[in-house]
C-alpha cells in the first residue's frame, strides 16, 4: 500500500444561515493514498462538494469547519493560518470546478490567467511562465497552443475551457487534484475526452485525484476507490470493485437499481428509491436514509449506524450488518466497527 497523502477525520462543516444551521457535512472520515483516485458520489445536498471545499479551506462565512482534522502529508490543514493555507492551494492541492466558464475571468486572456498562477507559485519570469503555460496547454491537448493562448475564454469551447483549467490546475505539479463535477457541464463525447485526459495526467504525474460526481458511470471509469455520501454522512466506502460488484449499503444498492443497465432489455423496469433526500436544516437523528429505506428498523430512526467493516477495503454504515439485526439476504454480518 502506498503512503497516505490525505486523511480526513470526523469532519463536520456547517453553514449558519438566518434560517438556522445547515449541517452540510456531519462527521465523515476517509483517507486517500498517494497516486489514488478517490471518487465521491452522492446526490445534490449530500455534502460532497462541501467536503472538497473544506479540504481546500474554501469554506467562507457563514460556513464553518466545526470539528475534525484534515491531515495532508502530516499537516492538519484546519489548523493553518490563512496565509499558510494559500501556499498549499495550487502548489500542493489544486481544484477544478463544474462550470469552466465561471471559473475563468472573461476579461483576461487565457495567457494572463495561466501566467498569474504560475508566477504566484514559482520564481519563474514572465517569459518562462509563458513557455510553461504553452507546454501545459499542449499537454492537455489544445491544438496550436502558441496561437490559442492569446485567446479570451469566450473564444474557447466548453471542452477547451475545461482543458485550459486543468492545465492551470496542474501547472505547479500539485500532489492532489480535486475535480468537482468536472464533466457535468460537458457533452458526452467531450466528457470522454476530459476523463481520458485526467486518467493520462494521473498516470504521467502520479498525482492523486478526488473526483466528485453524481454519475456512477464516471466514477466507474476513473476511480480506484469510492465513497458514497448521503445526507452529510458516508454511507459506504470501498474499492471501485466493492462498490459496483458487491454493494452492501441499501442506498448504494438502491442507486444501482435506479439507473438503466447498459445492456438491459428495454422493458426492464427501473426500481426507484422512494421519497426524497433529507432536509439538512433539521437532519434526522438516525440514519439519514432511514425514511427512504425498505429495511428501516426502529434503531435506524434514532441512531445513525457506525461504519461496519465488511472487508479490508470496504465498510458500510448500516445496522443490518450488526450481529443482533435480523438476517437479510445480500447484507453481510460484521463484528468489527470502524
Amino acid at each position: 500500500m502506498n503512503k497516505k497523502l490525505l486523511e480526513v477525520k470526523n469532519l463536520k462543516t456547517s453553514f449558519y444561515t438566518h434560517l438556522g444551521e445547515v449541517q452540510a457535512v456531519r462527521g465523515i472520515s476517509f483517507e486517500l493514498e498517494e497516486g489514488g483516485v478517490l471518487g465521491i458520489v452522492g446526490e445534490s445536498g449530500s455534502g460532497k462538494s462541501v467536503t472538497s471545499l473544506s479540504i481546500m479551506r474554501l469554506i467562507d462565512s457563514p460556513g464553518v469547519i466545526k470539528e475534525g482534522e484534515i491531515i495532508f502529508d502530516g499537516v492538519d490543514l484546519t489548523k493553518l493560518k490563512k496565509s499558510e493555507i494559500a501556499d498549499y492551494r495550487g502548489n500542493e492541492i489544486s481544484m477544478i470546478f463544474q462550470d469552466p466558464m465561471t471559473s475563468l475571468n472573461p476579461v483576461y486572456k487565457i495567457k494572463n490567467q495561466m501566467i498569474e498562477v504560475i508566477k504566484r507559485h514559482t520564481d519563474m519570469t514572465t517569459a518562462e511562465a509563458l513557455e510553461r503555460a504553452i507546454d501545459l496547454l499542449k499537454q492537455v491537448g489544445i491544438p496550436d497552443p502558441v496561437a490559442q493562448i492569446n485567446d479570451y475564454p469566450h473564444q474557447f469551447s466548453g471542452g477547451m475551457r475545461q482543458r485550459a483549467l486543468i492545465a492551470t490546475a496542474i501547472s505547479c505539479n500539485p500532489r492532489l487534484l480535486i475535480a468537482d463535477e468536472p464533466t457535468t457541464a460537458l457533452d458526452v463525447t467531450i466528457q470522454a475526452q476530459i476523463l481520458e485526459l485526467l486518467k493520462q495526467l494521473q498516470k504521467d504525474t502520479g498525482m492523486s485525484i478526488i473526483l466528485i460526481t453524481h454519475d456512477l458511470g464516471v466514477i466507474a471509469e476513473v476511480s480506484t476507490n469510492v465513497i458514497v455520501m448521503y445526507g452529510g454522512l458516508i454511507m459506504e466506502k470501498g474499492t471501485v470493485q466493492d462498490i459496483f460488484y458487491n454493494p452492501q449499503h441499501p442506498y448504494t444498492k438502491g442507486l444501482h437499481k435506479s439507473i438503466p443497465k447498459p445492456h438491459a432489455k428495454n422493458d426492464e423496469r427501473l426500481i426507484p428509491i422512494k421519497g426524497s433526500p433529507p432536509d439538512l436544516m433539521n437532519p434526522p437523528s438516525g440514519c439519514p436514509f432511514s425514511s427512504r429505506c425498505d429495511f428501516a428498523m426502529e434503531v435506524c430512526l434514532t441512531d445513525a449506524a457506525p461504519g461496519y467493516k465488511i472487508s479490508d477495503s470496504q465498510s458500510s454504515a448500516c445496522w443490518l450488518h450488526d450481529a443482533e439485526s435480523p438476517v437479510v439476504e445480500g447484507f453481510k454480518k460484521s463484528k468489527e466497527v470502524l
Binding site: V188, H214, G217, A220, P262
Partner: protein, 397 residues
C-alpha cells in the same frame, strides 16, 4: 407492436433558422441553422427519443413542433394536419393535444401561482368542463385526481412551487401537462435536472401514464442510457441534421452512422471492469459552429472515415495530391515546421514539401463528405442513416 401503425406526428424537412446578424450595416448575414431539414415520424402510443449533444437542435425541434418557434420551412403533420402553416387561431385546439414538459422545474412553474392555479390554467383556457353540471367542482376534483396520480397529496393544491423539491416540481409540471388530456407530450430533458434516485421515479411515472392513457412521447435528452431505456425508437441529431433513426434496441446493438458509434461508445459505463473501455472511440475536436455552416456532412470534420489515404510508391506526391484537401494538420517530422493546416487545399508547393519530407502516405478528405450533404436513407428495415459511405463502413451490401 402491431404492424399497421399510424404516425401521429410526421416531421418533413423541418427547418428552423435564427438570424444572428449583428449591427445595422453588417453585410454578411449570420444565419444560425439550429434545425436544418430533418425528417422523422412518431407512431401513436410510442416514445420517440431525440438525442444529440448540446447545440444539435433537439430542443429547437421540440419547441418548433409546439410552435413556440415559427418554423422556417417544412411541414409538421399532426394527425394529417400541417401545423407549420396553420393560423394561430386554428392552432388553438392543437395546443391542447400537444403538451410540453420542460427541463428546469424551477423556471417552468410560475412562483406566484398556487399549484391549483398552475394546473387549472390549461383547463380554463381550453374550457374543458364547459357544459358540465358543476364545472368548478369538476375542475377541483380533476386537480385532486391529477395530484394524486403524480404522487402528490390533495393538501399540496394550495401551496406555491417554492415549497416543493425539484422532483416534486417536475411532478407538478407533469400534472399540468396531463390536465388537458393531450395526445402527444414533448418531454424536453424532463429528468436532467433531477437527482439520480429521483430520475427513476419520474421515468417510471411517465411510462405508467403512457400505458394507462395511450400517450405518445417525444423524449428529448442527452442522457443516452435513459433515452434507450424509455424509447421505442430514437433519432440521433448532429448540428441540425438527423444522422440516424432506428428502433432503440437496434440502434444500441448495431449503430450504423460513425457519429452514433462514437456517441454511444462515449457513454460512461457503470461497470469498472467493463471491456468497453478498450474499444472506446474518443472523438477529436469539438462540435462546429452552426452559424452559416459549410455544405457537406455536418459531422465530416470529426469523422474518422471522412478521408482517404494517398500512398506514393516512388515518394513523389506532386501530381496525386494537388487540388485535394488535407484531412488533418501535417507537420514536417524532421524540422517540426507546419506544412499545411486541416481542411486547406494542397498546392503544388505543399505537395513538393510533402515529397521532400518523405511521407509514405497522406490523408486527404473524401470530397463527397465535405461537398454533398448526405440524405437520410433506409439502410435496413426501419433503420435510417445519413452517410455517403455507410455501406463501406459497416461492410453492408
Amino acid at each position: 407492436m402491431d404492424d399497421n401503425r399510424v404516425p401521429l406526428l410526421e416531421v418533413i424537412n423541418l427547418k428552423k433558422h435564427f438570424d444572428k446578424s449583428t449591427g445595422l450595416f453588417s453585410k454578411k448575414k449570420k444565419i444560425l441553422t439550429a434545425v436544418d431539414g430533418i425528417n422523422f415520424h412518431i407512431y401513436k402510443g410510442e416514445t420517440f427519443g431525440l438525442v444529440g449533444e448540446s447545440g444539435c437542435g433537439k430542443s429547437t425541434t421540440g419547441r418548433t413542433i409546439v410552435k413556440l418557434y415559427e418554423p422556417t420551412d417544412g411541414q409538421i403533420l399532426f394527425d394529417g394536419v400541417d401545423l407549420a402553416t396553420i393560423s394561430a387561431k386554428n392552432m388553438f385546439p392543437y395546443r391542447r393535444k400537444i403538451q410540453m414538459i420542460f427541463q428546469d422545474p424551477y423556471a417552468s412553474l410560475n412562483g406566484r401561482m398556487t399549484v391549483t392555479d398552475i394546473i387549472a390554467e390549461g383547463i380554463d383556457t381550453h374550457n374543458i368542463f364547459a357544459g358540465h353540471e358543476n364545472p368548478k367542482q369538476a375542475k377541483q376534483e380533476k386537480i385532486y385526481e391529477l395530484l394524486e396520480s403524480v404522487g402528490l397529496k390533495r393538501e399540496h393544491a394550495s401551496r406555491y412551487p417554492h415549497e416543493f423539491s425539484g422532483g416534486q416540481r417536475q411532478r407538478i409540471g407533469i400534472a399540468r401537462a396531463l390536465a388537458v388530456d393531450p395526445d402527444l407530450i414533448i418531454c424536453d430533458e424532463p429528468i436532467s435536472a433531477l437527482d439520480v434516485s429521483i430520475q427513476a421515479q419520474v421515468v417510471n411515472m411517465l411510462q405508467d401514464f403512457q400505458k394507462e392513457k395511450g400517450l405518445t412521447y417525444l423524449f428529448i435528452a442527452h442522457d443516452l442510457s435513459m433515452v434507450k431505456h424509455i424509447s421505442d425508437r430514437i433519432g440521433v441529431m448532429y448540428l441540425g441534421h438527423m444522422m440516424e433513426v432506428s428502433s432503440s434496441d437496434d440502434l444500441y446493438a448495431t449503430p450504423l452512422h460513425p457519429y452514433t458509434k462514437a456517441l454511444l461508445s462515449s457513454i460512461p459505463v457503470p461497470d469498472p471492469d467493463s471491456d468497453i473501455k478498450g474499444s472506446r472511440i474518443v472523438l477529436q475536436g469539438d462540435v462546429r459552429s452552426p452559424i452559416n455552416p459549410k455544405p457537406g456532412c455536418r459531422f465530416a470534420s470529426r469523422c474518422r472515415y471522412a478521408f482517404t489515404e494517398v500512398t506514393s510508391s516512388d515518394g513523389s506526391f506532386n501530381d496525386s495530391l494537388v487540388g485535394k484537401f488535407a484531412f488533418e494538420k501535417i507537420v514536417d517530422p524532421n524540422s517540426g515546421d507546419l506544412i499545411i493546416l486541416q481542411g486547406i487545399e494542397i498546392t503544388a508547393l505543399v505537395a513538393e514539401k510533402l515529397t521532400n519530407a518523405k511521407f509514405e502516405s497522406v490523408k486527404i478528405t473524401r470530397e463527397r463528405c465535405f461537398n454533398e450533404t448526405p440524405e437520410l436513407v433506409e439502410i435496413k428495415e426501419e433503420h435510417y442513416a445519413a452517410c455517403h459511405f455507410i455501406k463501406e463502413i459497416n461492410n453492408l451490401k
